[in-house]
Every structure is written in C-alpha cells, then in structure tokens.
Amino acid sequence: MKNRLLILIATCVAIFAATSIARAQDETEKAVEKYRQMLKQDPWSNPGLLDSDRGESLWKTPAGPNKVSLEKCDLGKGPGVVDGVFAELPRYFADADRVMDLETRLMWCMEKLQGAKHADLVKDPYPKGGQPVKDLGAIATYVANKSSGMKFAAKLDKAKEKEVVALGHAIFFRRQGTHDFSCATCHNDAGKRIRLQGLPYLAKPEEAKQVVGQWPAYRVSTVQVMTMQHRLLDCYWQMRMPKLEMGSDVSVALVAYLVKNAEGGEISAPGLKR
C-alpha cells in the first residue's frame, strides 16, 4: 500500500515535471508562431526571402554550357510559368516520363535547357551549415514562394503518380540500417519529441497540412534556407543511412507522399524553422 502511494506520488511528480517542460516547449512554439505571424504581416523580415530574390535573378540569368536562362523551363503549367506551379507539384511530366518534385524538375531543366551535367548537379547540392542555400535551392525557394498563400493541390491521380505516392508510403514505413529506423520512427505519432524538439506526425493529414507547406524553410539553427530534398538527406543521416541523392526515386516518392498527406494545406514558403 505504502509502495503504491509512493508510486502514485512519483508518477504525479513525473507528470508535473513533464508538463512544465512541455509547457516551456509550448511557450517556445508559441513564440515561433508569433514570429511567423509577424513575418506574414511584414514578409520582408524573413531572411529566406533574400534567397528567393537571388533565385529569381538566377532563374532569369543565362547560365550553363548553353548560356540560356531557365525562362523556358516547364514546371507543369507551360514554359516559363512560375506563379502557382509549386502548389501542383509533384506531378508526372511526359517529356521526362517521370513524376518529379520541384527540385528534381529544376535539375532536369538545368540539364536539358542549360546543358548542365547530371553528375555535377547531384555531386554536392546542399550548403554546409552557415552557408547560403546553393543556386538550385535558391531557385526552388523563389518558385515555391510564388505559390505562397495558395493551398497544396497536386492532383497525383494519374496511374504513375499514384504509384509514386504508394512507393513513398512504403518507404516512409521502411525500417533499415543499424538502428532499424524509418521515417515513421519519429513521425507516426502525435505530440512526441526528440530531446526538446517537437516532431510532426507526418502520416496524419491534419499535421502534415500544417508543416509541409513551410519548406523550403529558413532554418535559424543553421542560418540558411534548407530545401525539402536537403531536409530528407538530413533525416537519412540521422537514420544512419548514407547520402540520399537529390532527385532519387526515393526522395521524389517521399515528397509526393508528404504532399499528398498535406493536400489542402497552405503553402507559406520560405517558412521559418528552429
């Protein structure tokens, strides 16, 4: 009986401690949310927009061996159309006979229009901590920003698109490596944390809708814009897997699965992350 009482008291203390930390965490999240609201009112205070601007000028500047700009790149709504395209990606592109997300499609345009080599584009595509997002990422930030305020409306209803979403679903739950980790290890439950970092429940549409549209995002901890493909590489690093190739079938499928879950969620890119 005495033991039971002790256990009860211990449990209460534990719950109290956990709640006060959870409360501190909530406060942090509230502060970040307030900052996000301020950014909405004054978007120019978001450092990620500098990269978006850089992306816009890169989009229009002749580059690569062919010395042409990306202005004839077809991101899904016809050559050169940027407004609203991100809200309908990933999608199937007949010319490439492949489902592509934004970054993969930009890479394709750099190859086909500008004459860039695929091997060069995938070799070292992401910045080190503290360095600004690389050119392709800046362009992705610009294109995503041109759908900011819209809702995710990728149809993903063609047979090949459905296949890619199903592949993404299977990969999201695929356990592998030295630690048996999958995406679901961290992102298949509500209200969980790693250390003090909250984890979004990405398999659940309600939560996916709130967060997926924030990428590419300005990450305060690494002082840079991080794209979705870069974010996925970071997850696989933590999962003790090797370097995930930008534009691989695995990364495209995961983006398609996440965007499908986030269907109807608002795009606010570049977002702001801890």
Partner: protein, 206 residues
C-alpha cells in the same frame, strides 16, 4: 507471371489474416527494396548491408509496426534468440559510464567516420531518465525511478538487459533500436546502461 504470383500471395495472405489487413502491399514494399540502393549511389560497399532488411524489419515495415498476433510472436521468439549475455553472468556495469552513453548520440552516421569515439546509445533522445536532465524526448516511456519501481529485482535486471540488447524481444516492432543485436553497443556498454536504470546509486532512482 511474377505480378500474378505476387497478387496470389497477397490474396492468400488477406484470406489467412482477415482481421489484420496489411497496410503496405508486398508489391509496394518490393518496389521500396529496389529503390533504396539506387537512392544512395555514393555509399561505400561496406554500407550496402544497411539497405537490406532482415525478416523482422520487413514484417514491421509492411504492418506499420502493428503486426498481427502470430507475426508479433514470431518476431519476439526470433529476436529473443539473438540475445547474448556476459560470459560471467554479471549484468550490471558502471552507472556513471552508463549516463555518458545515454547522453551520447554519436556513432554510425556518415559524418562519424573514421570513428572518433565509441558509439552512444542516445537514450535521452527518447526517454526521460534522471531528474537532472530536462532535455529528454518522449518517443519512449519515462524511465525515471525505473529500478526503484521494480524493487531492484534480479529478474527485472535481466529483463532490463534484454530490453536494451534487443527491445523487440519484449516489444515486437518497438521503435527502439536493437542495440546489442545490431552491434550498436557492446555488451559492456549495455551493462553500464543496465546499471544506470537498475542501480540504487544511480540518479535514475534518486
């Protein structure tokens, strides 16, 4: 032909386990198996084993970590058989060293080569352990007072060793890595972690 045999297998499986629909089809899982090695083209040869799933990983993946009873029992039996015990039978090491192992998330990531120190267990990423450490995760249950609650019993000490060595021997498809079986931690490190949760002197039980 292969597609047909896969769908026949899927139908048979669906009939055999009517109450537990497998959320991920074997065909989609097989496409994942094929896609994964291609997505990591720069991986060194000795990392290729990380792409391959053993039977337990496969089953937990296609059932989204909620396997039907028969599968869960098979996993538990298989995983239990992998547990190796210290030759001298002593399951408790040094809790102070255990605390360091619990704090460290170092090891086996591609930035961790060549190894600069022993791999950690990163227990705090998911578990509360001591009152002093307030930066703890909640993916796993709180382990505060773990040994005290279990009255520091010998059978409980053995169970703790087994859970750390291979969590799936106790909880099939647990999110927790099979730290001993997958050689993330050594037997000595696991003993130190057992001491961290089971020793009366440990801050976990203070």
């Amino acid at each position: 032909m292969r597609k047909i045999s896969i769908s026949i297998a899927a139908v048979l499986l669906a009939c055999a386990t009517p109450s537990f629909a497998q959320p991920i089809s074997n065909a989609d899982a097989a496409r994942g198996d094929a896609a994964i090695p291609k997505a990591f083209p720069t991986a060194p040869a000795d990392w290729h084993s990380r792409f391959v799933q053993d039977e337990t990983m496969k089953q937990c993946s296609v059932y989204e970590n909620a396997p039907p009873k028969a599968v869960a029992e098979a996993i538990q039996k298989r995983e239990k058989a992998t547990i190796q015990y210290p030759p001298d039978g002593n399951l408790m090491g040094d809790w102070k060293s255990g605390e360091k192992i619990a704090q460290s998330g170092y090891g086996l990531r591609f930035t961790d080569y060549p190894p600069r120190s022993a791999s950690g267990g990163n227990c705090y990423a998911c578990h509360q352990l001591t009152k002093a450490e307030v930066s703890y995760g909640t993916v796993g249950p709180s382990l505060l007072n773990y040994g005290k609650i279990r009255k520091f019993g010998a059978a409980e000490t053995k169970a703790a060793y087994e859970k750390i060595y291979n969590a799936q021997a106790a909880f099939p498809c647990s999110n927790m890595p099979r730290l001993g079986t997958n050689k993330v931690l050594t037997i000595d490190q696991i003993k130190d972690l057992v001491a961290l949760v089971m020793s009366p002197d440990s801050p976990v039980n203070k």
